[in-house]
């Protein structure tokens, strides 16, 4: 167990996670005692446009992976257009490695509900939906209770706290489809269709849920809103970096002493995160890691000091993604890890576009062949060729994301592939299981 350095400790910043230490914070009475719904009361006295400006000023960027400025997204909603507006919260957490939204909704569900009400008021929405991953029933249960309790207390429903503002919130469980984390697939799913992405433009800001102006935001993004309303944009900007302000919950998993949720200012480095986690597990040395889930290209021990913010990760050829930091050691095989991720993308591809549906099918087969000791040198070219046909040519980001582990693992760990191909490493699967793979 290592002791974290002063620099690492300076990055820890419990804002969103602070209430998690109170085991009953999911109860309305406890939440209120811990300053819950004070942000809402303050927000309802402000003009909605001023709230949008506040979020713009704060520099808050979407926490679901893309990092789009939240205030700008809200500002895209046309006002006085005579159409209903909608807020949809993307709680379909499923990007491999990502696990901060479920604990947040479990421990502090009202913080999300409070954010939903404020955001809906700002964009003038009277109906909001929280689309939560089906399997996350433990968190959905708490959210539904929170919605019921908030309604009973007058925080939801008609004329909220005498403001004249009405809002209904529905907690909608999905049914097991990673693709529904893609915002337009989510909207189709919420409308009762197969979760397949829509062609953009038009964007959800004008043609979203039920073809009306819609904001789709991630759980963490919305849960951050009440704190900005209370503390102000200038305070928010005292954390994180200039272009990536605020805190982010980093989901750290894998070969460290204490995996878990670490809320830090954006810009923390992997070296600092590992220190906060008590160091690497005994007997494990860092070999490769994802900065933000499996859809973000892998990094190695060369990147220990790259800042984990939107720009810093782009600077080293990857993305911050969901800040799902999965840490693998010299005891883990990057080829096998890639194979398992591609099996995932193959399973989760919605089938709408050919590059993703076929590309993942073939990449999975080729990776399995390599791991079975039957691969050829040409297989590596075929994999990269498949990635060329996927990246930028698939209908949505799922296909783009699938190329990340493949191209980055070949870039950094080609020797591992060659060891299987040239027979230096024992096959992981028996060739007998490979009928039809050639």
């Amino acid at each position: 167990m290592t002791t974290p350095s002063k620099e690492a400790l300076a990055k820890i910043a419990p804002v969103l996670t602070k209430r998690w230490l109170s085991p009953d914070a999911w109860k309305l009475s406890v939440y209120e005692r811990l300053d819950g719904y004070t942000g809402l009361k303050k927000a309802l006295k402000a003009h909605p446009d001023d709230l949008i400006q506040l979020i713009k000023d704060s520099g808050l960027r979407g926490r679901g992976g893309a990092g789009f400025p939240t205030g700008m997204k809200w500002g895209f909603i046309p006002q006085n257009d005579g159409k209903p507006h909608y807020l949809v919260v993307n709680a379909d957490e499923g990007e491999p490695g990502t696990c901060q939204d479920l604990p947040l909704m479990m421990a502090d569900p009202h913080s999300l509900i409070e954010g939903v009400i404020i955001a809906s008021y700002a964009i003038r929405a009277n109906f909001a939906a929280i689309y939560i991953r089906g399997e996350a029933i433990h968190a959905a249960r708490r959210l539904r209770q929170a919605v019921d309790d908030a309604r009973a207390r007058g925080y939801l429903g008609r004329n909220i706290l005498g403001s004249g503002f009405d809002l209904d919130v529905v907690v909608h469980s999905g049914a097991g489809a990673y693709i529904c984390g893609e915002e337009t697939a989510l909207l189709d799913s919420l409308e009762g269709y197969r979760g397949q992405p829509r062609l953009r433009p038009p964007f959800p800001a004008t043609h979203g849920l039920y073809n009306s102006p819609t904001v789709v935001n991630n759980v963490e993004t919305i849960a951050t809103v009440p704190y900005i309303v209370l503390g102000g944009s200038a305070w928010f900007r005292t954390m994180g970096t200039e272009k990536s302000p605020g805190t982010k919950i980093f989901s750290v998993s894998g070969r460290v002493v204490q995996p878990g949720q670490y809320e830090c200012g954006l810009g923390v480095t992997l070296r600092q995160l590992i220190e906060l986690c008590g160091g690497m597990k005994p007997g494990h040395n860092l070999r490769f890691w994802t900065p933000g889930g499996s859809s973000t290209p892998l990094l190695t021990d060369e990147h220990l000091d790259a800042p984990l913010d939107f720009e810093g990760m782009m600077g080293v050829g990857t993305m911050l993604g969901t800040a799902a930091v999965q840490i693998f050691s010299d005891q883990d095989c990057p080829v096998y890890a890639t194979y398992r991720w591609i099996e995932f993308y193959h399973h989760e591809s919605c089938g709408k576009c050919t590059p993703c549906r076929e590309g993942n099918y073939w990449m999975k087969g080729i990776l399995r062949r390599i791991l079975s000791g039957q691969g050829t040198h040409a297989d590596l070219d075929t994999l990269l060729d498949a990635c060329d046909n996927l990246l930028g040519r698939s209908f949505c980001a799922l296909g783009d994301g699938a190329t990340s582990p493949v191209t980055s693992s070949i870039k950094y760990f080609k020797q591992d592939y060659l060891d299987y191909i040239e027979g230096r490493k024992a096959p992981m699967f028996s060739p007998g299981e490979l009928v039809g793979a050639h």
């Binding site: 491999p96 399997e135 009762g192 209370l230």
Partner: protein, 269 residues
């Protein structure tokens, strides 16, 4: 076989529930009720049967083909009878390398069934799952989607044997177990009705890990004043920043970060 008269989908209470689901969505947008209604039919029959498809189609005014197209798209809608206990083993990369692969192989051998298959007794359905969003607790197993954290093959065998003996071992987080059909009703969006269940499942060590470090070193976030005014376009510009904390300049990284007190608690070196 259930006779047509007693068919669970003909229960008026179920129809009532379906109408309640439809009413949650804006007027004229009843098709949004389809996903929850498919969960509802699973709560009656344990899987999506042709009857279940017809039930949804009729109430929503869409065709059976449209309902089937949706039902077959999503993993959680089962097309064959499902046991009371749906045991899912995460075999995505992190859980896989941490022991999930071994757990799945062990269960396959013990239960004599493969992925998405149900034991001959009909009580347990086994599946391997993709990332269940609990990587900090890897490897994880779920029973009816309730989590059992930091598992291994032996612990999972004990869990499954307990289920076979009629026990309901307490999950690591979340509520105590209920059957797949009972759970499906909650997936359809109905509130938990069991007493005392909502408080089940305190957060585990990984969830609180960052907080514990902050606590140990006395770290809190400074400068948070809940009375900071929300700027208004109607105010004169000069008034706006008066009582707000000084904004980080545009040219430098923001702030000094949180306050770190003297790390006296560093006794874990």
């Amino acid at each position: 076989m259930t006779s047509v008269q007693n068919h669970p989908l003909l229960d008026p209470a179920l129809r009532e529930s379906a109408l309640e689901i439809i009413a949650r969505y804006p007027e004229g947008k009843q098709r949004s009720a389809l996903l929850p209604m498919l969960h509802l039919v699973q709560s009656a029959e344990g899987y999506v049967t042709p009857h279940g498809v017809a039930f949804c189609a009729e109430l929503l005014g869409i065709t059976k083909a449209e309902v089937s197209a949706v039902a077959t798209f999503y993993t959680m809608y089962k097309r064959r009878p499902t046991g009371d206990w749906l045991v899912s083993v995460c075999t995505n990369t992190m859980c896989g390398v941490s022991g999930g692969d071994k757990i799945f192989d062990t269960l396959k051998e013990y239960l004599g069934v493969g992925h998405n298959q149900t034991t001959p007794e009909g009580d347990i359905t086994l599946e391997h799952a993709e990332c269940l969003a609990a990587c900090d607790y890897a490897p994880v197993v779920t029973v009816n989607y309730e989590f059992y954290d930091e598992m291994d093959a032996d612990k999972t065998m004990s869990l499954v044997k307990a289920l076979q003996n009629g026990e309901r071992p307490q999950p690591s987080r979340g509520a105590r177990l209920c059957t797949f059909k009972e759970l499906s009703r909650q997936l359809a969006g109905f509130s938990e009705e069991r007493d005392g269940v909502m408080g089940d499942g305190p957060a585990g060590a990984p969830t609180l890990a960052g907080n514990r470090v902050a606590e140990q070193y006395g770290i809190s976030v400074p400068g948070f004043d809940p009375d900071t005014p929300i700027g208004s376009r109607e105010q004169k510009p000069a008034e706006k920043p008066a009582s707000a904390p000084k904004a980080a300049s545009d040219s430098k990284p923001a702030g000094d970060g949180p306050v770190v007190q003297d790390p006296k608690g560093a006794k874990n070196a």
